[in-house]
Every structure is written in C-alpha cells, then in structure tokens.
Amino acid sequence: MANSPIHFKDFGKDTIQFRHISPDDLSPLPGDFENKPWTPLSEEVKEKYAAILDDTCILPIPMPKTKEEEEELVNKFISGMRKLFQRENNWTFLAMLETTMEHCAKCQTCSESCHLYEATGGDEMYRPNFRTEIFRRIYQKYVKKDPLARWRHGDIDLNWRTVARLGELAYRCNICRRCAQACPIGVDNALVAREIRKIFSQEMGIACPELHEKGSMLQLKTGSSTQMTGMVVKDNMDFIDEDFSEETGFSFKTPWDVEGADILLIHNAGEIMAWPENIAAFHIIFEAAGLSWTLSSELAGYDSINYGVFYDDVQFARTAILQAQAAKKLGVKKIVIAECGHAHKALTVIADRVLPEPLKVPRESYLPLLRDIVLSGKIEFDPSRNDFPVTLHDPCNMTRLMGIIRPQREIVKALCPQFREMTPHGAFNYCCGGGSGYAIMHRNNIEEWRMKVAGRKKLSQILGAFSDCRGPEAKKYVAAPCSNCKGQIRDMIKNYGLMENETLAYGGIVELVVNAMKAVNPGFIKWEEYG
C-alpha cells in the first residue's frame, strides 16, 4: 500500500487506517539489517484512541463514541484553529503561520530534504507539504471562509476522522526544519506540525503524556520531568560527586545555589538518571578550569528541558520564566546550558522575545565555553586517549536553528585524532529521529517508528561515517551533545545490534574531553557499559 497514490479527499474517509508503510519500501541501510513487519497496535489502543492514521499511535486522541463527541472534536479543532490566527492568542507565531498559509507555491522543492520522506521511499504522507496542505485547505475553507476556497486552494472534507488523522500526523514530523531550509520562498512546513500540536494541547487539552503530564506539568510541579525535587536532585548529585571522584581520581564537589556565581549551569535533568558520567564530566571540566559556577535547586532551575517548545506556547513560557527566575534569584552573570539541544534553542533563542525586562539574564550554549577551555591550555590533554574513530552528530536545535557549528568541531578536532564528519553535517545535518519529543516515547509502536522510519537516515549517516572501520573489531564513538539525540541513538544502537556488531558507543562531547584529560584516570569512556 505504501507509495501508492494519496488523495486529499480520502483523508477523512471512513477507513480503519489511512496509511501503511510496508517495511519493504523503506530506504536501504548500509548493512544487513532485517526490516521486520510492524507490530499490530493492540485492540485496547484502537478502541480507546482514534488511532486511524497508520501503524503507530502517538497522540492519544480519545476515540469519539457518539455523534456528539465526533462533532465536538471537529468544533473544538476549528475553534482552536481560529485562535491560531488571532493576534492575541498566537502573537508568538502568527507572522510565520499566516505567511506559510498564503505563499506556498506547491512546488515540492522541500520534499527531498526530509529524512522521513526519504526513509519511507518517498511516501506521500511524509512529504513535508502534505500535512500543511490539509491544514491550509481547512483554514481557507472553514476559518478564513474564502467563498472561492475550493477553486483557489483545493477542497477537503472536514469530519472527525480528518481532525484525528491530522492531529496524529502532526506527530509524524521531527520539526527539524530541514524542509524549511530548502524552501525557496521561506514557507515553513515544520511550523505547521507544531501549530497543529498547539491546537490539540492549548484548545482541546490533548497532548502526549510524555510531553505534558509527565513532562512540562511535572516540571512545574516538582521542578523536573524526572520527578526529582530540588532535595532529591542534590542527593543524587552527591552520589555522582562521590562515585566519579573516586573513579576518575579527580576530586570534585558540585556547588549548589552559590549566590553571585558567574555561571548558572543547567543540565537536562534526565542526564542525572541516564548518563551520570555526562554530569560528572561537566563538573570535572568546570572545576579543572577554575570557573565560578553553580547549580540551582530552585523549581526548574536544575532541569533545562522545556517541552513546551514541542507542543505548547503557554507551557513553554511558564518553564522559561521559572528558569530565568532561578538565575535572577542567585544573581549569576549568565546561564550556561549543558548538553540538551531543545533547551538551547528554547532558552537562548525563543525565550529572547518572551522574557520581560526584569527577567532578562544572558544565556549561552556550553559549547563556546568548552571550546575556549579546551584550546586555552588551562587543562592538559592527551589526545592519544581518544585515538579511536569518532563522529559527531549535530543536534538540529544547536546547528540549523542556532548556528553553533564550529566550537564542537574545534573541540573534537583538537582531542580526537580519528575524527570524521557525517555527510551532510553542520547546518544541513539530518535529525537523529528523536527530535520534537519522540526520544522519550516508547508506547504504541512509537519506538518501532523511531527505529524504522525516523532514525533511519541518521543510522545510515553514522554507519557511513565509519565505512572504513565497520565490524566489531574497531571501537567507535558517536558524539551527540544532546540528551534527546543520545536517547534516540542509544535505542538505535540497541535495536540494530550496533554494540555487538560494530562496537559503537555513544555519548556527549564532554565525555571525550574528560577521557583525554591527563588529570583523570584513563578510561573514562567505557565501551563495556554500552553492551
């Protein structure tokens, strides 16, 4: 069925499933990897949720049971769509959204740039403009109420199935904006995916639990989506200090709530649980460089995540404000954001026009600071400790969306004799496949979709970068300076057996830095722990 033609008129049709991507149609990978069939969605999921798009269910839209519920779904959606086009309700993105609605030439120049479109063998549902076109037709006909909409912009059937499928389809995009980069006019299909997610969250109260209840709401409640309160996070950090001081032979103690420190460092708190070595590496480097720095135990002051960036402007603003308040309270000179891509963009770029004057505090990425430390000569390094093939993944949020390209390269080039680039890289990189929140999702075939479709291009790029040293003999390392990307790469390594068959480890950049530090016991990066 995949790669068969799609017609917009079928999008709202009374069929059980709109699309099925046959594993046989997926793009080839460099190696002998089996394309297993999709696991069928459970009957329970199908009964409970409107899982009528394809073989996955990401957005839990309750299955309407009555005619009234069906109508309510449509009416609420249209009401939310109207609000998206009101300056008061959507000042944040109105300019971009309206121009995207008005100026697309339907030329499909953006299609080939999308890794999902490529991974699915060019499936029409994954064409970047497909989702936008449905949204655009609904907007022109039902919101703008252009009497000639049908002729000028094309027709669309609006019913509960159209709405449910469009909501789910908003979660078949990594919002990596590679397609927007290719558009000669400046139209942004990625934005439309995010705006649809906003309608569901901000108007209909429907969002992915990992992003909302267990994400941004939990962060507002406890301070972190990991559920760690300030007290708990400090306890955990004590363990990290002790364990890694002992292991590395470099004794350090994490400073907390130091008023007037130069730097407030904010980690993605998920690292504390999943990758404590990343936290330890940061703290070892900051201590060795003699920086004036601190962590904050204030609400959200110790967790840089801001899942609102993926689905909800209000949740975004709330989180950014809490983080800025934590910095203001300590009177630090600046916030430095650790290895988390979306947090980088959220707090540095997007919050720039959200934070009011009293909450303005300078914010920057850790990468330029780390580059300056590494190249300054303050710390002694032995690059031969990193003498294994290393490649670098560029998180979209840091590169395409912030233009931070060179600092990470200067670091790995200085410390990793066998560094090699992926193709393409930098601002033109490909998303890891976990972007826009999926890396933390595992239910309802989401992980299967991430492995089969979303991460396919990145997997192929990683293996391509190591084409001269494939096989289990050579230890290899993919550096991904972002928690979400690491989560996705970790799952791909496991799913495709890349530890056993390729001895491929993954981690951040700070781990490579500490691995090469002379003041630290050799062997900070441990391949055996990835097995």
Partner: protein
C-alpha cells in the same frame, strides 16, 4: 470605448499597488513574533559561509556583531535572478520554472523600457532620430520584449504540463493554479501575436504608454493590441492577490523570519513590544490555560497551575 484600455490599465495599476501595499501593511502590523531563525543567516559577515552565528562566541552579548548587507545581497540576488534554491533542490522543476521567471523579469524590464521610451517621446524626444539613447532603447525593447514573452510562455506551458502530468504536483494543484498558468499563457500568446502582427517595433506600445502618462487617451488602432492591454491589466491586478505575491513577500519571510536573529540586547523598543504582547488576553480553552482570574499572557505564564499541588522542596 477607446478609453477603456487606458482606464483598465490605470485600474489594474491601482489594484496592484494597493494590493501590494495592503499585504505589506498587514505583515508589518503583525504583533511581535518570537525568534525563529534558520541558518545559514546570510547577513552574518563572518560565518554565513558555513551557517554559523554570533552564538558561537562566549559572552556573545558583549561582542560587536558584524552584519553585512552585502552578505544578504550576495545570497538574495542569485536566489531571485537565478532561482538558486530550486536549482539546488529541485533541478527538474528549475528547467521549467526558470524560463518562466526569467521571462517575467524580462517582460517587466520590457514594460519599463516601453514606458521610458513613451515618456521620452511625450517630452518631444524622437527615439527614431538615430540618437544613441534612442537606438539603445529601441534595440533593447525589441530584444527583451519578445525574449521575455517567449520564455514566459514556454515556461508557463511546461509548468502547466508538469502540474498535470506529475501526480505529486497534480494532487496539490487547485483550479486556481491552472487558471493562473493559463492566464499567463494567454497573455503571453497575445503579446507574441501583437508583436508579430500588429506592433513589431513596439511603437504602438510606446504611444499607448505616452498617452497613458500624458492623459491623451486616443483610440488604439489595433484590436489585437487592445486585447493585449486588457489581458495584461487583468494579469497585473491578479498577481498580488494570489500566492504569487511571494515575489515581494519573500523579503519579509527571509529577512524578518528566517534571518531574524536580532537578539534583545539594549532594545527598549523590543522590551516595550514584549510588554504589549504579554498583556494580550488569552482565550485558549484547555484546562491548564483557562484558569479563573488569569486573563493575560503575563498572568497565565507566571501562574504555575501545579504549584499548589505539591511542596516543591519536600
């Protein structure tokens, strides 16, 4: 009846100018938007070549930013004149789209030359007297006009064919798309026919332009030419009310959004605008937003709906 083509042309020009101005005004009246830039940002003088930004520096807010107008121009000029983006990302379409766009650019230049010649003649300058300027204007008009019409019609036919024959374009094309292309084809065909059979040296066109500017609306001696004027006027008025307004709105999409990397450092005007938008009322209905007593963005964003439910420090 003889004044109709003149009136229509004036009307079309007015519609064109008003539509363009209205679109621009509408964009400029939009509220402040968040930053949503996309790299490479062409005006970054030192780093645009590899897609870098000022955020690559420690304490970037203390450092002078080097913006380059030349950087924007050196990106935009080939983008507009050569459709570089389409060349790089959609080569097969470029072979059709580029002749079309180049044809339109040349047609616009031709119209400029016709008006220039007409106005000069209006002021008593005889283009055909053998003067260098007159000869240049006539020669350029004679070459650029037909070249523009031919390229535009070939491009429009090729694009029409592609939209019909390529399923990935056909499904996305509305009646409006086909109508627009058909209109271009008809207008350009009429222009070619007029050039071949009624006005080979474009003297009639210049005299029409002179009459229009000098308000001497004398009868037009050719039905074909009259048809060309009427159709051209319709096209002129039609373009800015369609998605084709991208030809000028592109400036804002690129300059203001894609390259809008201006940080809010020492910008009282931006702070004032932030204050303004944060006081906008919010009517989103989801339970985590629609909280009683909280009405503006500022009130809602500074309210933590989860705060009362747990002591965060326990």
């Amino acid at each position: 009846m003889s004044v109709i083509p003149y009136l229509l042309t004036c009307l079309a020009l007015a519609v064109f100018i008003v539509s363009v101005a209205a679109r621009i005004k509408r964009y400029l009246n939009k509220p402040l938007h968040v930053r949503w830039e996309l790299y490479p940002v062409a005006h970054d003088a030192e780093r645009a070549s590899y897609g870098g930004s000022y955020l690559e520096d420690v304490d970037w807010w203390k450092k002078p930013r080097k913006k380059s107008m030349m950087g924007e121009l050196s990106f935009m000029v080939p983008e507009i004149l050569l459709l570089r983006g389409v060349w790089e990302n959609n080569r097969s379409l470029w072979y059709r789209s580029y002749p079309f766009h180049l044809g339109l650019y040349l047609t616009a230049a031709f119209m400029g030359l016709v008006f220039l010649g007409g106005v000069l003649e209006l002021f008593g300058f005889n283009l055909g007297s053998g003067s260098v300027i007159g000869s240049i204007i006539i020669a350029l008009t004679n070459v650029i006009g037909p070249a523009g019409f031919l390229l535009a019609i070939c491009g429009a036919v090729a694009l029409f064919h592609r939209r019909i024959s390529d399923s990935s374009l056909r499904e996305y094309s509305s009646f409006g798309h086909f109508f627009s292309l058909a209109l271009f084809i008809v207008v350009m065909a009429t222009a070619i026919a007029t050039w071949l059979f009624a006005d080979p040296g474009f003297a009639m066109a210049r005299s029409f332009a002179a009459g229009l500017v000098g308000m001497k609306w004398s009868p037009i001696p050719s039905h074909l030419f009259t048809a060309q004027i009427v159709l051209g006027a319709i096209l002129l008025a039609y373009i800015p009310i369609t998605h084709m307004s991208h030809f000028f709105m592109k400036y804002f999409l690129w300059h203001d959004i894609r390259w809008g990397d201006e940080p809010n450092i020492d910008k009282p005007a931006t702070d004032r605008k932030i204050g303004e938008v944060l006081n906008y009322p919010v009517t989103w209905s989801a339970p985590h937003i629609a909280i009683s007593g909280k009405k503006t963005w500022a009130e809602i964003a500074t309210h933590n709906p989860m705060a009362e439910t747990e002591n965060t420090k326990e």
